[in-house]
């Protein structure tokens, strides 16, 4: 016996505005946050000074801080859209920084070969993880957790548990591209280093790949329904592998940028990077279950998370409170979408209940005729 179609799902669902434009929820929360911070600043200064939070020099500051996690968040979005996750990025970044720093300062390989070695290692190691994940049925969570621990081990072995100090060989990555431009508000010098530009270029490429290439479409297909994707002729295993290879590439680049800022290869360099990037991606609306998410959302997540700590500093809140605020904001941002869709579901239910109530009253009055109306209603809704 075939089960009849569940007609309920065919009802013309009135989607909420937030549902139709998936990035709108988190964008509005972000803007709300910005407005609140600006208002606090205005009130505390009595409106006498321009709020420093949205001054160009502060925005450029935030950009410098988010460039590295933002870069990794781009590939993390791809991994998560495909239905995977990667916990190893933090330790992998530390490992890359140590390899590059060692290459430059101890092995005397030269700057570019060292960077190549570091980035290449990241790609190779992520490829290994990707091979295991795509060829077995083991959860990516577990595999990349194992990866994280082993990368930490490799890194500590390489540097003998010591930090590797460089002599500023990577300073060309932190040069100021903005020339001597000054912030019209504060009069401070604006610094736009190359790695900020490269973050935007990578984000643009990532966004285009996900939205406008066959490859990007396949990532969504694999994340939405792997079985249907397989039967539609998509090589699901190699798709899964490839997103981890891209992850390796971007972690390599991101770690090099971070090393250029810190000038020291050290095991703590990438600490917590996996938490930050996953939080950014998730705030941006990407589902842990895969198939849903986009780079625009992720960018909002990147700027949102990146500006929280900055705003707290400007508001002179102690760092203990910052953690709490950050955590609360992550939870609010992620649950907002679900809460808004639950509200709209509740409204739909209430509408249906009122309609059914009307029908029941009509049936009492009109007897048989009203029953016909119920039937017709069913047929309409099946379209």
């Amino acid at each position: 016996m075939s089960t009849p179609d569940s007609r309920g799902s065919a009802l013309p669902a009135k989607e909420s505005l937030f549902k139709r434009h998936e990035n709108l929820t988190v964008l509005s929360i972000f803007l709300g946050f910005v407005v609140v911070v600006v208002l606090i600043q205005l009130i505390s200064t009595g409106g006498s000074r321009f709020p420093t939070f949205i001054s160009p020099v502060n925005i450029v500051n935030i950009l410098q801080q988010v460039a590295v996690p933002g870069t990794v968040a781009i590939s993390m979005t791809m991994v998560m859209v495909s239905g995977g996750i990667d916990l190893s990025v933090g330790m992998l970044a530390s490992l890359v920084s140590i390899i590059v720093a060692l290459g430059v300062s101890q092995w005397r390989l030269g700057v570019w070969p060292s960077i190549g070695l570091g980035v290449g290692s990241a790609v190779v190691l992520e490829t290994v993880l990707g091979l295991i994940i795509s060829r077995t049925r083991i959860e990516p969570f577990i595999i990349t957790l194992g990866g994280m621990i082993s990368f930490q081990g490799i890194a500590l072995l390489l540097c003998n548990s010591r930090e590797v100090v460089m002599q500023g060989e990577l300073n060309f990555l932190t040069a100021n591209l903005a020339g001597g431009a000054r912030d019209p508000v504060t009069g401070l010098i604006l610094r736009i280093p190359p790695y900020v530009v490269s973050f935007f270029v990578i984000a643009l490429i990532g966004g285009l790949v996900l939205a406008y290439t066959r490859y990007g479409r396949r990532i969504y297909a694999v994340g939405t329904n792997p079985r249907a994707a397989f039967l539609a002729g998509i090589d699901v295993r190699n798709m899964r592998l490839s997103v981890y290879m891209i992850q390796g590439l971007l972690v390599g680049i991101g770690a090099t940028m971070l090393l250029a800022r810190i000038n020291t290869g050290i095991i703590t360099l990438g600490q917590g990077l996996e938490i930050d990037t996953i939080a950014m991606v998730v705030i941006g609306g990407t589902a842990l279950s895969g198939g849903k998410g986009n780079i625009v959302g992720t960018l909002i997540g990147v700027f949102f998370l990146g500006s929280i700590a900055n705003a707290m500093n400007l508001l002179r809140l102690p760092s203990e409170v910052q953690f709490l605020a950050k955590g609360v904001i992550v939870i609010v941002a992620v649950s907002a979408g679900d809460i808004s869709s639950q509200i709209s579901d509740f409204r739909t239910l209430r509408r249906e209940r009122m309609r059914a109530h009307d029908l029941a009253i009509a049936a009492k009055k009109g007897g048989k005729q009203a029953q016909g109306a119920v039937q017709a209603d069913f047929q309409d809704s099946s379209v």
């Binding site: 016996m1 065919a10 669902a13 290439t213 969504y220 329904n225 249907a228 002729g233």
Partner: protein, 494 residues
């Protein structure tokens, strides 16, 4: 023998379908009452009413133990009506005892009485003459043994009625005997057993009475000892063929697909040919290995042995990707879980299978939309736009999106697995018409179907599956319900 359960004039209507029509049925203590009927005759709906999963339409009456009763999942269990479904519902990592007492553990002062539970388990298994160790993990048991554990659970919870839905599907003949023995012992306990099986020899081996359903009606109720197999089959068939869909015939062309001695994924030594302009029906009971064979032909499951040739050229089908490149299309049975990307738009869905063949790197959303619009028009898909999400469409329109996805690949050989499963009558006819249009364009179709009128009205030839093998082939006037059913039920020994 006293009566335990009686249904009088029970009906069940779904929107657009009358699944059960004025059913009367009764069950006595200590008897095995078999329910017979084709796929879709209404057996499953009847079980679901008895287990309380469905509420019957108003007007009928259900009497349990002499008192009128209304059934919902809770009250059915309280009355001791225990349903054992075809798929095992077990906890694989718990042992036999824990499985039997899951949800009704014996507890004293907040502590589980393991010894007591173990003792009762041993007793019931001994009574059933089973040698399953009570401490064995469920995972390590065969499917036959797992079924016996489920029956033991029903016995221990003092059931009055045990409903067995296809208890022997996919068992070896050895295991079937064991399960049948257990059923005989269960009825000696004074339990009423409702037994559903596609295999008529089981009905004769274990049944006391048999009720035959067809199209949601009771067509006969008999004592099994007065019944012959041919009479039973006659009862199960008997639809009026003049009510079937009338299909336009198309002149057939050269052979496009040859399958030679293929084994794998449950199918054994299957050979057939398919010509352009023809529909080859694949009939047989659910679970007879038809869909599994199609998966293997499409490269979605490993082919153990045999050869596939397309247009006379032998090919290797290593994955669905290569199958699509060889111009094959596979409209799967379960469109929601294997055919569609539900949260995505119609345009994105239609573009998806084409990606195996195209070399383009970039996709243009506007091109996808205009392609999808073409298929929306061609297939008469009722949707607000090509950007509508597939999840919001009705079953028939979803199926049409699946068709659009495959038409977009320009395929030549179409495998339809249950093409009209869960679709309303109007959309069904449109899909049939589309299939004939494919034939006119020189394509070829393999159609797996459990819907008897569909098989008979649409097929040029029919091959009938039984337990993974082709039991026979029918063509022309020989394609009748009776012939198909006889081939697909058959005798286990053959």
């Amino acid at each position: 023998m006293d009566e335990i359960l009686r249904l009088s004039h029970v009906s069940k209507t779904f929107p657009g379908v009358r699944a059960l029509n004025d059913i009367s049925f009764d069950l006595k203590r200590g008897e095995v009452h078999c329910l017979c009927g084709e796929n879709g005759a209404g057996k499953s709906t009847l079980i679901k009413i008895l287990s309380g999963a469905y509420q019957p339409d108003e007007g009928g009456q259900i009497v349990f133990n002499g008192k009128e009763a209304s059934l919902n999942p809770r009250s059915a269990l309280r009355m001791g009506i225990h349903t054992i479904y075809q798929e095992h519902i077990v906890f694989n990592d718990l042992d036999v005892t824990e499985n039997i007492f899951a949800g009704s553990e014996i507890v004293r002062n907040g502590l589980m009485q393991r010894k007591e539970m173990r003792r009762q388990t041993e007793n019931v298994l001994k009574y059933l003459k089973s040698d399953i160790p009570p401490a064995a993990r469920m995972r390590n048991l065969t499917s036959g043994q797992q079924k016996i554990v489920e029956i033991a659970k029903a016995l221990i919870s003092r059931s009055n009625v045990i409903i067995l839905d296809e208890p022997t599907a996919s068992f070896s003949s050895n295991e079937i005997e064991t399960v049948l023995d257990v059923v005989r012992r269960v009825k000696q306990e004074g339990v009423g057993v409702i037994y559903i099986s596609h295999h008529l020899d089981e009905v004769f081996a274990v049944g006391d009475r048999a009720t035959v359903l067809r199209d949601g009606r009771v067509v006969g109720a008999y004592a099994v000892k007065d019944l012959s197999k041919t009479a039973l089959i006659k009862d199960m068939v008997g639809r009026d063929p003049s009510t079937f869909y009338k299909r336009e015939r198309v002149k057939t062309g050269e052979v496009v697909l040859e399958v030679k001695n293929v084994s794998g994924n449950g199918a054994r030594n299957v050979s057939f040919e398919l010509r352009r302009g023809e529909i080859l029906g694949v009939a047989g009971m659910v679970g007879s290995g038809r869909s599994e064979l199609m998966e293997a032909l499409f490269g979605a499951a490993p082919l153990v042995y045999g050869e596939i040739a397309i247009n006379g050229r032998s090919i290797k089908q290593s994955s669905p990707k290569s199958a699509i490149r060889n111009k094959m299309c596979f409209i799967t049975e379960d469109r929601q879980s294997t055919g569609l990307f539900l949260p995505k738009t119609i345009a994105e869905n239609v573009a998806m299978a084409n990606m195996a063949t195209t070399r383009a790197i970039l996709v243009r959303p506007s091109d996808e939309v205009s392609t999808a619009e073409k298929f929306i028009k061609l297939l008469n898909i009722k949707a607000p736009s090509a950007r509508a999400r597939v999840v919001n469409l009705s079953g028939g329109n979803q199926q049409k999106v699946v068709l659009g996805k495959w038409f977009n690949t320009g395929g030549e050989i179409y495998i339809f697995d249950e093409p009209s499963h869960g679709i309303d009558v109007g959309a069904k006819q449109e899909i049939y018409k589309t299939m004939v249009d494919l034939l006119k364009a020189g394509k070829a179709i393999v159609m797996v179907s459990s819907d008897m009128p569909e098989v008979i009205s649409m097929s040029d030839r029919v091959i009938v599956f039984r337990r993974g093998e082709i039991a026979g082939e029918l063509a022309g006037d020989a394609i009748t319900e009776e012939n198909i059913l006889t081939l697909s039920i058959g005798d286990r020994e053959q």
